[in-house]
Amino acid sequence: MSLKHLIYGGWIVGTGLQLALVSILVARRMWRQFPIFTTYSLLCLLQSAIGFSIQGFPQLYLYAYCTFETMSCLLGLGVIYEVFTKLLSAYPALEKLAFRAFQWTIAILLAVSATVVYFHAPVEGNKFVSLYVVLEQATRIAEVGLLVFLFSFSRIFGLHWRQSIFGIALGLGFFATVELIGITMRAAFGIAATPVFNLARALSFDCSLLLWMGYILMPERAASAEIPKRAQLEQWNQAIMELINQ
């Protein structure tokens, strides 16, 4: 089986999975809860369907690809914001701090992205493609950076992710990171790296779709805590008191 067949296979499987995801989102009326993510999923499905039908027209395909990719990158950032607000909705005491930290992270990531664009080596391909590759790389850096911020922030403050929110963030994070590695390789190694990039892209997106569906369909885990025994508590306190009174 050639690389081309594998890419097509991944594409077809991906389109099927996207259709399944959109059906789940609609059936569960999740557009009410996650309007941006639902729009993002619909756009991805549309992109796959249109891309598949116009693949015989390279020029048209290129422009369609760039248009859809730009929209999905922007919507991806919107999905991160949606996840961020949903995650914080349960913790009003953290909102102010979190929004300030989020704004600072955006500012830092914009600076990093601008640096990458400015110092980037020339990319193989026509001017339009090379510009597009560099801009997409910069956007993916911002996307991945924001998701890392979200996971780190929630770890530091011990925030609890609800199943669906965690799944959306995880799936998007995985896809955006693989995409970032792919587009960076494409920029560094030129057109020769494109088939490998396309395959990695298709497979990572399929994995993300499975993650999204899995976490949306999985029932929420009940919160529980291991409660220590009373004797253990007293023993521990005794040891501390001895240490203090040394």
Binding site: A93, T177, N237
Partner: protein, 172 residues
Amino acid sequence: MMITMIVIALALGALAVLYGAVRRRHQSSLPLRPVDVQALRTLMDRDDELFLREKLPHSRFRRLKRQRILVTMSYVSRISSNSSVVMRLGEAARLNSDDPQVAQAAGQVIELATQIRLQCMVAFAKLAAEFAVPSLQLTPAMLVPRYQTLRENVLRLGALELQGAAPVAVAI
């Protein structure tokens, strides 16, 4: 090529963060760790520290203060971890209960636990500074009464017949 290497290294770091998040999520339930509030109060007592500073030689005082700081840090770490568990229980209570009283009490518990978690971070920073320079006196005195209030609020949640909240209040 340098930028390529940096971007790929950062992306691999991001994958590690995602992997860590998945691992933590699928770990079994978080353990509650007991905290003796009275002992912590003693540790954070500034008069006690002043007394030690006056009575002990400087080098001995520094050594003792660093020991006390390490113990205090372990307490603060426990408080921080317990606050996280309480936040999770509070959120579960708010989501699963139809009783507006329970939802309100759970909301208060979450709010308080979040504030304590924030204060723990500040306390860690201050304790680290005091560890580096033992003559400093930055340790916040607010953490202990807040934690006491959290216990009382968790107990109140238990009184509203939330399953599991009462033993939690005893355990923390």
